[in-house]
């Protein structure tokens, strides 16, 4: 049975960042196996149309229909065991915290840990929610062990010669063909896998101001 991915949305409101990440997840997994829980009324209303195609619930994860505690595996940075391809047979539902993370992490996953799920970790470095779901899918469905997936940690994304952003997270590395303009030769370069539109969002974030 195909594993089902549950994202418990733990932010107030559906921010643009969350929307981009969730849409990215949807494109990779498909609407049938993706569940969103913990959505407040206002969030449900403001959700974009394509996200509504997945299963959306305003209750928390344990109230989802047909779900029992032993079928759920929480992906938790503080877990003792790493995720393995065999976990696809032991668990049906894989739970993620839909959190926009801090650096260093504030351990908001702890709120889900209290509910008593079995847990597995995805490595020592914090990941974005869509990266975590993609990694889990690669481990469980493509049967690739966790440490054999190529990663890029803390990538620096350059907007111009003078401006750049360092994201303190782990991303999956994908090969991108880059043409080396002076000589015209083609080179393969590894870049972090990010949702489409994330580059523009990061650039736009630099124009925001902090709240005190």
């Amino acid at each position: 049975m195909a594993p089902k991915y549950v994202v418990e949305h733990m932010e107030d409101g559906m921010h643009e960042w969350c929307q981009l990440e969730y849409k990215h997840m949807l494109s990779r997994i498909g609407a049938d196996n993706l569940y969103f829980s913990g959505l407040t009324e206002t969030t449900l209303e403001t959700m974009p149309e394509d996200l509504k195609k997945a299963h959306c619930h305003s209750t928390d994860v344990l109230s989802l229909p047909g779900i029992t505690l032993d079928q759920v595996c929480l992906l938790d940075p503080a877990a003792k065991e790493p995720l393995a391809p065999e976990d696809a047979d032991r668990f049906t539902y894989f739970l993620f915290g839909g959190i926009l993370g801090d650096d260093p992490p504030r351990d908001r996953t702890g709120e889900l840990r209290k509910l008593g799920f079995a847990n597995r970790h995805l490595g020592p470095v914090q990941m974005t929610t869509d990266t975590a779901v993609n990694v889990t899918r690669t481990v469980l469905e493509d049967k690739v062990p966790l440490d054999q997936i190529p990663y890029i940690d803390h990538p620096e994304i350059k907007f111009s010669k003078k401006e750049s952003v360092i994201m303190p997270f782990r991303y999956i590395a994908v090969d991108k063909q880059v043409i080396h303009t002076p000589t015209g030769e083609r080179r393969t370069v590894q870049k972090p896998l990010m949702p489409p539109g994330m580059f523009e969002l990061l650039k736009k974030d630099n124009e925001a101001s902090f709240e005190f």
Partner: protein, 244 residues
């Protein structure tokens, strides 16, 4: 000094004194663009020189503030009366002082300015003050976004070796947000300055200047030059040897 302290303890005590003074003034005088202290010990008194950008505010109305600070320092470190003096000195070029620029960036962000605007403003001011390069990093979490580090650079920057200690001025400041901390880092690379006022006296070790050759007359024919000592009674009008 009443008792004899060993040299080791004396140096450690001096270091601790300097550290405590620096920390105290950083917290107290952050609004006045404080950027450093210098402690000079003379037999009669101890002079503490405060470098700041707004010296008028450090002095206060008719010298009131600086007198209060003097009393505080005297009472805290148990100096006898009239043995400690505080002076305020203006920072020559505040665009080249990392501490001053970091505090300025902190105030800009606290007042709600956008990150890009605040950082570009600081970077531009630093480069206009004659720095060779600068780097400003703001790390933290914006609301409705993930934590990240935003980096703004301009000019030239070195990262390794002894020249980093000579040429680079760094400052780090923490700003408390509602949930968590914002980290600000400002790194300024100074240009070398033979007078020593706005930068180190020596240029970078790998900087090579190739001078143009001097104008020389070609020798007319074979010649010989006598380098032995000139005769004792040398006439005033002496034929000078052709110098090379």
């Amino acid at each position: 000094m009443a008792a004899q302290i060993s040299k080791k303890r004396k140096f450690v005590a001096d270091g601790v004194f300097y550290a405590e003074l620096n920390e105290f003034f950083t917290r107290e005088l952050s609004n006045e663009g404080y950027s450093g202290v210098e402690v000079r010990v003379t037999p009669a008194r101890t002079e503490i020189i405060i470098r700041a950008t707004h010296t008028q505010d450090v002095l206060g109305e008719k010298g009131r503030r600086i007198r209060e600070l003097t009393t505080l320092v005297q009472k805290r470190f148990k100096f006898p009366e009239n043995t400690v003096e505080l002076y305020a000195e203006r920072v020559q070029n505040r665009g080249l002082c990392a501490v001053a620029q970091c505090e300025s960036l902190k105030f800009k962000l606290l007042n709600g300015l956008a990150v890009r605007r605040a950082c570009y403003g600081v970077v531009r001011f630093i480069m206009e003050s004659g720095a060779k390069g600068c780097e400003v990093v703001v790390s933290g979490k914006l609301r409705a976004a993930r934590a990240k580090s935003m980096k703004f650079v301009d000019g030239f920057m070195i990262h390794s070796g002894q020249p980093t200690r000579d040429f680079i001025d760094t400052a780090v400041r923490h700003v408390l947000l509602r949930q968590g901390v914002l980290g600000l880092k400002v790194k300024i690379m100074l240009d070398w300055d033979p007078t020593g006022k706005t930068g180190p006296k020596k240029p970078l070790p790998d900087m090579v200047t190739i001078v143009d050759p001097k104008e020389e007359e070609a020798p007319a024919g074979p010649m010989s030059q006598d380098f032995s000592a000139p005769p004792a009674a040398a006439p005033v009008q002496q034929q000078q040897p052709v110098s090379a």
